[in-house]
């Protein structure tokens, strides 16, 4: 799959932003006043920034509001509705904390649940697709949710919780990669089933429909990322989990905390790039590629 920068920025930043909103929402003793303002400003910058970025890959961003209409059938629509509701509830919760110094617990809990659900809907956009075997697994929501919760805990300064969740997310990431590498061959879909000619012999693509590539080839068959995939996985793993955990285990300082957060964000972005770049869409089979 083509790794569109806008989608990678979106899923990296929004995941962190909604993760932070979750922890702020369930906090029994949330920050108030200026401290609350800083925390919510960061959370909103990440989540809203990510959402705005996601509209950049649309052919018609001015019609994006229409995407809120089909929540009964479409995960992408559910994501939009859930994000708007989460930001609305958390906005009211934030206003009460910042300006009224009042803890509206119910608003926070509803907002936290919606924030987490938004991350879940994002993951389901990918996990629902039969056409991308690497994504079609309950491990994909587990991956997105654990990343979001770990990142949120890290951003909100919950040191012990962040370490625990980073370890859990690291385990999901490892299993997800392991499973993913065999997903296409395990799916049973190949050029034989794609053409219906597999029972007659070995099917080989002899000539593409056109001499130049097309939208399908550019969107679904992205091979550049595979050359360095293993190295990038190690880099992503080190930045997302290992370095932040080491920073958190050392004596607390703000410098170390900033290093941990920046390293984590860079690592998640690398992991998300691989999420797309390594994914094989079955349309590639028609072109004799993957």
């Amino acid at each position: 799959m083509h790794p569109a920068p806008s989608v990678i920025v979106f899923s990296t930043l929004s995941g962190l932003g909604f993760g932070l909103l979750f922890w702020l929402g369930i906090d029994p003793t949330p920050p108030t006043g200026l401290t609350a303002f800083v925390f919510f400003a960061i959370a909103y910058a990440l989540s809203v920034g990510g959402l705005i970025s996601s509209t950049f890959h649309l052919g018609h961003p001015e019609r994006a509001w229409r995407a809120l209409s089909q929540w009964r059938s479409s995960w992408l629509s559910r994501e939009g509705v859930s994000a708007v509701l989460a930001l609305l509830f958390m906005g009211l919760y934030a206003i009460s904390l910042i300006f009224l110094e009042m803890n509206a617990t119910a608003l926070g809990l509803i907002g936290a649940a919606l924030s987490l659900f938004t991350v879940f809907t994002t993951s389901m956009i990918y996990a629902q697709l039969d056409t991308v075997p690497r994504w079609k697994t309950p491990l994909t929501p587990a991956l997105y949710l654990s990343f979001s919760l770990a990142g949120g805990a890290l951003l909100s300064g919950r040191v012990n919780m962040a370490i625990l969740l980073l370890v859990i997310a690291a385990i999901f990431q490892f299993i997800w990669w392991q499973r993913g590498d065999a997903a296409l061959s395990d799916s049973g879909t190949d050029l034989g089933t794609a053409t219906g000619l597999g029972e007659r012999g070995t099917v080989r693509s002899m000539a593409h429909p056109h001499t130049a590539p097309n939208y399908l080839v550019k969107e679904f068959i992205y091979v550049i990322g595979r050359k360095h995939a293993q190295k990038l996985r190690r880099i992503a793993f080190g930045l997302t989990f290992v370095l932040p955990i080491i920073c958190l285990l050392l004596t607390f300082s703000h410098v170390l905390a900033i290093i941990a957060v920046l390293s984590h964000v860079a690592g998640v972005a690398t992991s998300r790039w691989l999420f797309f770049a390594e994914a094989e869409h079955v349309v590639g089979l028609y072109y004799g590629m993957r």
């Binding site: 992408l76 629902q128 039969d130 056409t131 007659r200 012999g201 070995t202 080989r204 000539a207 349309v283």
Partner: protein
């Protein structure tokens, strides 16, 4: 609404004969022509005379080689367009309701005024039947020539999809696959029509008819007895030449 209809009144679709298709791409060109000049946004081209010329096509013809365990490989030309699936995954993923499946005839269409060009429907389609037009920013797909098949301004013989009308080999057939007595249903029944990627659960309406197995060199032709050589030895002028050349020094092959 992007919910799929539980049942459609008719199930219009194509039956494509892989035995007859000669891979001439005439269907590709006529499709591009009709759908650029008629329904919806035109099918744009990018750099048509430059390097890497690209464009939006609703129908593309692949060519495959099938190598059986024994014997000669077989070439199969393979036209591929929207299969108008009964369980169309492209419809249910659409966030705006722009993609829909018609109750009256089962055709899957895109309302281009509501399409935001997110591309998710193309991701959900296992067949590569949807292409995001790079100039218009909306999703394009086969309409089964909905603007021809019901168009009473056209002569009756033209009230079929452009690709079917154009095919010089008669490899493309159009009709109602929910009616077991229709020509297309009969073709599917008698020729063993099959689905592409049945494991995806998309229940495609369009069917493909298998190419017949390739002849073997060892097969005995009905005409073989008629092709027996009438004379084992050359006679007349050739006979004289044969003997004369034999007499020259230098031996024979």
């Amino acid at each position: 609404m992007t919910d799929l209809p539980a049942k459609t009144d008719r199930t219009l679709g194509l039956v494509i004969d892989l035995d007859t298709c000669v891979g001439c791409h005439a269907c590709v060109i006529s499709c591009k022509g009709w759908n650029t000049e008629n329904y919806g946004a035109p099918l744009s081209d990018q750099r048509p005379y430059g390097t890497e010329p690209m464009g939006t096509f609703l129908n593309r013809v692949h060519s495959y080689e099938v190598q059986p365990e024994q014997g000669n490989a077989q070439t199969v030309h393979f036209p591929k367009s929207c299969l108008h699936c009964e369980n169309a995954p492209c419809v249910t993923v659409c966030p705006t309701g722009a993609s829909y499946k018609r109750v009256e005839d089962g055709i899957v269409l895109v309302n281009e005024d509501h399409c935001i060009g997110c591309g998710l429907c193309a991701w959900a389609c296992p067949y590569g039947a949807r292409e995001l037009d790079q100039a218009e920013g909306v999703m394009k797909k086969c309409t089964l020539c909905v603007d021809r098949i019901y168009n009473e301004n056209l002569p009756e013989e033209d009230q079929i999809p452009s690709c079917v009308r154009t095919c010089p080999a008669g490899a493309r057939h159009f009709g109602d696959l929910s009616d077991p007595t229709s020509d297309v249903s009969q073709l599917v029944e008698s020729r063993g029509g099959f689905d592409l990627m049945p494991e995806m659960g998309t229940l495609p309406v369009n069917k493909y008819l298998p190419p017949r197995l390739k002849d073997s060199w060892d097969d005995q032709s009905l005409l073989a007895p008629l092709l027996e050589p009438v004379a084992e030895e050359p006679q007349g002028f050739l006979g004289w030449l044969d003997k004369a050349l034999d007499k020259l020094p230098g031996g024979t092959a």
